[in-house]
Symmetry: C2
Subunit: 616 residues, 2 copies
């Protein structure tokens, strides 16, 4: 390929052909990639700002290393879109985050270039260390590269990984993609510390020394390693003194300009040549190249579809379960100064921005640190405060031990707002909130609510905070309230409609809407049933058992994993229940279509009931 | 009290009177305390070495601070024996770790001086921050002191805590009790880093400057604060430059000699006067003052009763489930070089010392980092290795998210050796392994074995490693195999004895022995039953359902928490089962007596069956 010709992404053999390009050509490609990112995300929704920030970095990584022999592990993985484009998924990139389309995260099943699954934060160092260790044991000299944002550094798992990785004698390279944002502005001492590194000018100071080494050698291949090894002192000049990461045993390179491909390649080539654990600090700009995203990276972190010219979202949610939760808690905090709100880097996602604004001294964003969040709540509770931790269901999995050990054993009163409970949709397996019922019900003496509409949500939150004891969870789905039923029946226990139909359908949460629609479908076919909507779903209640026991046949529809479900528990007591639950991991897609796949759409509910009545 | 008179611990008002003593008298008391510690632990078992190391530190903390107004949070809590002695529990100290006796860990229910529950590692910083924050919100200027060993620093939760605490503007003091040992020798970069701090002579260098400040002021009370504030520069001299903890936003004091009460008090007094987050580094010697423990602190970490003169244990276990597991795995690793062994700081506890010796390059002690352990295993597995993570049931709670997210979603093949599954005894609520069945069964596609004897354990381990796919768990109890039944029936599925008795008793694990004894008891009363011992307990098997369905009445005894139990799952399918499980947290005591309390002793089993047959 000639130096000046613009390469055609669609016609290249990727990632191999990247190495044949000039820097100028790379920069041309980066422009194309940015256009593709903006186009696709504006249509499909997804993560934009973080991907716009890592275009050059991804390009440089694939030019310096040989994937899939070298293993690239993306932390969280929502910043891997360019990686997907550069590793043979360009033609399918328009299917991003759609049903049967490519994932918004890394999935080894999708490509051999995705070395490890991703979705939850702070995993990459540990996973990459496992991979690098296996390579070492097998005598494979390739490299493992973990790429993580500074947000991941608020999670303890990263430190457990660094503690083991630094002294590991593996070909492990940790790349910090430093943009000073995780989802919203990063919090904590680590963020501040990393920022002090960010502004150091050390790479440039030592640049000439490095260049001396690198210019003597071809850009790729063995010779460079030998050359660099033989001029160890020059390489050492690359390495700063006294960073925390050197205390952990890493060589340190950086900070590099994350939008300068040449500088990135020189730094990464040096890191590669060291053949030991290296920490590379790269400064990037979140949203780079798209003004609305650069100006407002928080809003363009994870987004729905939007208009490209303005950056305005296609649909504006006036309210959501999250915002209703956040607003109600703020109202409650006005008259009760014991109430504290805690979030793990999800202030906006969980609707706590209202609380933060009104009561900043009682609002705590602890970073992506769900373990700490719960133990911190336990400390607050031990002093008579009432901590409320709002967290996505899937991320609450991280707090399981803390809920048992720090809260439940000492009977601490704390409320967990379990947001994004149930199926969340396009983010796929790693993000569905289908396990919280299963694992929370294993916590002794816990109380769990699953409101089906805004009015029930606020009632449950008030009851949990003001009246209940011990650990309480209020779980609610992603998105907004689509209920149309009469709200006069709202309460915090259950709602039972006995029309003496002889058949009962039990459910809870937003599925109640689907049950009501199934009722209509079946009514037209001459099948009628009574309904029991649970609001307080755990502990089991004798009243509920009595109601269920009055029927010959009970259908129980539940948006939760089978084992550990509420229906399983009632089934263990009553022998007249046909349970319908989620039987395993749920892939990406639209919520309504995934519910249908799980047998939980109105149509599938009606079908199951009709079928059961016919065939038993 | 006169300067030279030896104080009588039994006659003092504690902790108040401590402040009236001279340093000489304190040292006398420390000797007495060490004698009490050695006496009691030699009789009751418990943690010795760590407690012998913190006698002076605890004394100094209680002389400088005012518990319970100042809150003391012990990490893990097994090093809090001196604290218990000095806070009104001396008279009951001989009941340490016995039924209805005082706990071997901190329990707020036991004393107002135990500010927070303890048992699991690395919790204290987060909990103390919660407490300190609540104090700040309430306008209470007292201090919160977290005391943690260097072992706790291998756990990520500590870093999540430090990241939030350093910038918190609270009166929080973190004391690092540095003895270079957690349970066995600490691992990782952090341990190495802390050791470099340990050997710095900085406190002594700045000692005279501090003394100048302190000598001008009374030892206790407000004046000192003002004095120190007004001579900020002198205090700043106390503070070292460039420790990692300063990067986290703490003032740093240390290292202090942890066995010199005078030095400790000066350092702590300065820390107190700073009125901001301070990190105090204290060097201690684990086992201090008792030669056998100083020489071999690992063996004297958590121990059974022993002979004081020699330090020899009263009972030597020839074998245990742990050692059988470790030896078998070592044997398997000889012929399969894919097998790797991982432990979270429990090399000896889990019997992996044999593996470590034979295959050090495939043995990984990751520190007290259960999250990392599982993700690291997932990385190994992604490269075709077969990782086996041996871990105590109660600590595996920390890995719940990693088991789902990093292992199960990607169908990685890894084996978890769940040691100390079921009731563990004297360590109490925080350590009972009663939740692993509940939370592991919520992991899609997991296979769980619960062998009842050594022969089954090795068979299950081989099957899990060599034949099964995905995530497998093999769970086994603490201690040794007491089974006496015929081992010809050993297999990895189930063992069914059909004597057409019309009644079936189902169980698994070591409870099978109790069922056999219950059988004898009831046989003498003319009641006979068939038995079904499960070995592979999950997933549920149709064969088992068929067997159960053949009976009119089935009793299911299970050493696991009710919700999420195996019997609950079979109850949800079969309506002829009377389940007997563990209904909540289990306090400390002897295993057999706790099993009896839970209705799972042979006598209670027989009673339940007899009663049920009589009264239905």
């Amino acid at each position: 390929m000639s130096e000046t010709k613009k390469p055609n992404l669609y016609k290249m053999r990727l990632p191999e052909d990247l190495k044949k390009l000039s820097i100028e050509q790379c920069n041309m490609l980066c422009k194309d990639i940015r256009r593709i990112l903006i186009d696709t995300v504006s249509r499909n929704g997804g993560h934009l700002a973080s991907n716009l920030g890592t275009v050059e970095l991804t390009m440089a990584v694939h030019r310096v290393f040989d994937s899939p022999e070298d293993k690239i592990v993306w932390d969280v993985g929502h910043q891997s879109y360019t990686h997907k484009i550069l590793t043979g998924r360009l033609d399918r990139f328009e299917t991003l985050r759609t049903e049967n389309g490519i994932s918004g995260f890394c999935r080894p099943e999708e490509s051999e270039h995705d070395a490890f699954i991703s979705g939850h934060s702070s995993v990459s160092v540990s996973a990459a260390l496992g991979i690098a260790t296996a390579m070492k044991l097998k005598g494979d000299n390739h490299h493992t590269i973990a790429i993580l944002g500074d947000g991941a550094f608020t999670g303890g798992l990263v430190f457990e990984g660094l503690n083991n990785a630094g002294k590991s004698d593996t070909n492990l390279i940790i790349i910090l993609n430093h943009n000073e944002m995780s989802i919203s502005k990063n919090v904590g001492s680590m963020a501040k510390y990393l920022s002090t590194l960010r502004t150091k000018d050390s790479y440039h100071k030592t640049k000439s020394a490095v260049e001396k080494v690198l210019n003597k050698t071809p850009v790729v291949g063995q010779p460079i390693k030998r050359a660099i090894r033989s001029t160890k002192k020059a390489v050492r000049d690359l390495v700063l003194n006294s960073t925390m990461f050197e205390d952990f045993g890493f060589e340190f390179i950086g900070p590099l300009d994350g939008h300068n491909i040449e500088e990135l390649e020189k730094g990464l080539t040096a890191a590669k040549a060291l053949n030991k654990p290296v920490f590379v600090h790269v400064n990037t700009v979140k949203g780079k190249g798209y003004a609305p995203a650069e100006d407002n990276p928080g809003e363009f972190h994870g987004i729905g579809s939007f208009e490209i010219a303005t950056g305005n979202p296609d649909v504006v949610l006036s309210d959501s379960f999250s915002s209703v939760f956040g607003k109600e808690l703020t109202k409650m905090a006005q008259t009760d100064n014991r109430i504290c709100a805690v979030t793990a880097a999800m202030k906006y996602g969980t609707g706590l921005q209202y609380f933060c604004k009104a009561y900043p001294e009682r609002f705590f964003d602890v970073g992506i640190a769900e373990e700490h969040a719960v133990t911190f709540c336990a400390g607050l509770a031990s002093m008579g405060m009432i901590p409320v931790f709002a967290v996505y269901s899937t991320f609450l999995q991280r707090s399981y031990d803390q809920i048992i050990h720090d809260l439940a054993i000492s009977k601490a009163h704390a409320v967990i707002g379990v947001d994004r409970a149930g199926i969340v949709g396009e983010d796929g397996e790693t993000h569905q909130g289908i396990f919280d019922v299963s694992f929370l019900t294993t916590v002794p003496d816990i109380t769990i609510y699953s409101p089906s509409c805004y009015e029930e949500l606020t009632a449950c939150l008030r009851k949990a905070v003001n009246e209940d004891k011990g650990v309480c969870a209020v779980r609610y789905p992603r998105g907004n309230d689509k209920s149309v039923y009469d709200k006069s029946e709202v309460n915090t226990a259950y709602s039972y409609k006995d029309n003496s139909n002889g058949i009962l359908v039990v459910t809870y949460g937003r599925l109640y809407n689907n049950v009501l629609k199934a009722e209509e479908i079946l009514h037209s076919k001459g099948i009628d049933f009574d309904t029991l909507k649970l609001v307080k779903i755990f502990p089991l209640e004798d009243e509920i058992i009595d109601i269920i026991s009055d029927y010959k046949l009970v259908f129980f529809f539940e948006e939760a994993y089978t084992f550990g479900s509420i229906s399983e528990k009632y089934c263990a007591i009553c022998n007249n229940i046909a349970p319908f639950t989620i039987e395993g991991f749920v892939r990406q897609g639209k919520v309504c279509s995934l519910l249908d796949e799980c047998g939980l759409s109105p149509e599938k509910m009606a079908e199951s009931i009709e079928d059961f009545l016919k065939n038993g």
